[in-house]
Amino acid sequence: MAKWIIGIIVVVLLGGALWYSGWLGNKSMMQPSTTPTSTAQTTQPQAVAQPENGMAATNDTSDAALTQDTAAIDAQMQGLNSDSANIDSSMSDKETAQSY
């Protein structure tokens, strides 16, 4: 009977020592931290193709999206007109006559 009592006391003391050292506390505190980690992994934003040059989202087929897309394209078309004019200008360039 005394052996049992001594054994229980030893176990309690060991448990107390471990708790006091913080080992058990850290173990218990580490448990919850894994949950947010896994949650964060599952809630990371998925790679989505970004609309280019002011276009609406690629999966948006609404009237507003079509209007936005055509406006974005028109802006690029105007840019193309400018680019084309610049080609003409560069090809008709004349050097300032040098004299000496």
């Binding site: 040059n53 948006d60 394209i73 680019d83 084309s84 080609i87 360039d93 300032t96 040098q98």
Partner: protein, 279 residues
């Protein structure tokens, strides 16, 4: 038949995306090589930084020559700087390509700046005369690099628009299919959609051709035969760009007609349902 049209459109879109890659790759290789030719401009020693012209007596004609030379150098520098800005805005090429071509243009600008500084600092008339004459000889490089860069930029823009219109085409296709499932007659819209696909495909081809014909040209350095062939190539490239622009304008009109058609279908359906409710 409509199903075949849809399939054709999808194939055309796929081809457009596939051909996009070689255009970009082509631009990366050829244009870079061409612009590197700007290194042909040489100015010699530019070490003198003092106003050495005060040590020689300049005639009025010589002063006029210097002024004209500096004006021409400033004009070219401004044009190259503007081109450099446009190159930075190109979208369908890699950053490495842009940096490469930008570095070449910047080198040309720096060369011109050095030449201008050298002219201002020349200490003897013979050197001054040679430097002013080099402005004219270096023009052949400028006369090639500038249109080459402009053509590459325009081709990049056309490919960008092709990509944007392809995206829009997919959306229009979805809307047309929905309208068809609602019982609407979508024949005209499908025809326009197919025309968009064809026009985008050709615009892509034209942009690619413009880069192909122009990017590998090298300065003529006064060779009349080469000057003629370069001019012909640049003229062809410009024509390609214009054809591509015409294609894109036609495609844009098709977009307008389809959107109008979709609105008409919606209006008709709305009016029909209203009539049914009122009966």
């Amino acid at each position: 038949m409509k199903t075949l049209n849809y399939i054709f459109f999808l194939i055309a879109l796929s081809l457009g995306l596939i051909t996009l890659v070689p255009v970009v790759a082509l631009a990366q290789t050829n244009v870079t090589g061409a612009v590197n030719t700007s290194a042909a401009v040489t100015t010699g020693n530019t070490g003198a930084s003092v106003n050495a012209n005060s040590s020689i007596t300049l005639t009025a004609a010589e002063k006029t020559a210097i002024t004209r030379g500096n004006t021409e150098i400033d004009r070219r520098s401004a044009a190259l700087t503007d081109l450099n800005t446009r190159i930075q805005a190109m979208q369908k090429v890699t950053d490495a390509f842009k940096q490469g071509i930008s570095a070449s243009i910047t080198a040309e600008i720096n060369t011109l700046a050095s030449l201008k500084a050298k002219i201002d600092a020349d200490v003897d008339l013979a050197t001054l005369k040679a430097d002013i004459q080099s402005i004219t000889s270096s023009y052949r490089v400028f006369a090639l690099v500038l249109p080459q860069g402009r053509i590459a930029a325009a081709a990049d823009r056309e490919v960008t628009i092709v990509s944007m219109m392809s995206t829009l085409g997919g959306k229009l296709q979805t809307r047309i299919q929905a309208a068809q499932q609602g019982g609407a007659d979508v024949t005209a819209m499908v025809t326009a959609l197919n025309d968009i696909a064809a026009k985008l495909q050709d615009a892509q081809t034209q942009a690619e051709a413009a880069v192909t014909v122009s990017a590998s040209l090298t300065p003529d350095n006064g060779d009349a035969t080469k000057m003629k062939s370069n001019t012909a190539a640049l003229t062809q490239a410009r024509a390609d760009i214009k054809t591509g622009a015409t294609d894109l304008a036609a495609a844009r009109k098709d977009v307008t007609s389809i959107i109008a058609g979709l609105a008409s279908v919606k209006t008709t359906a709305s009016a029909s349902s209203t009539t049914q409710v009122s009966q």
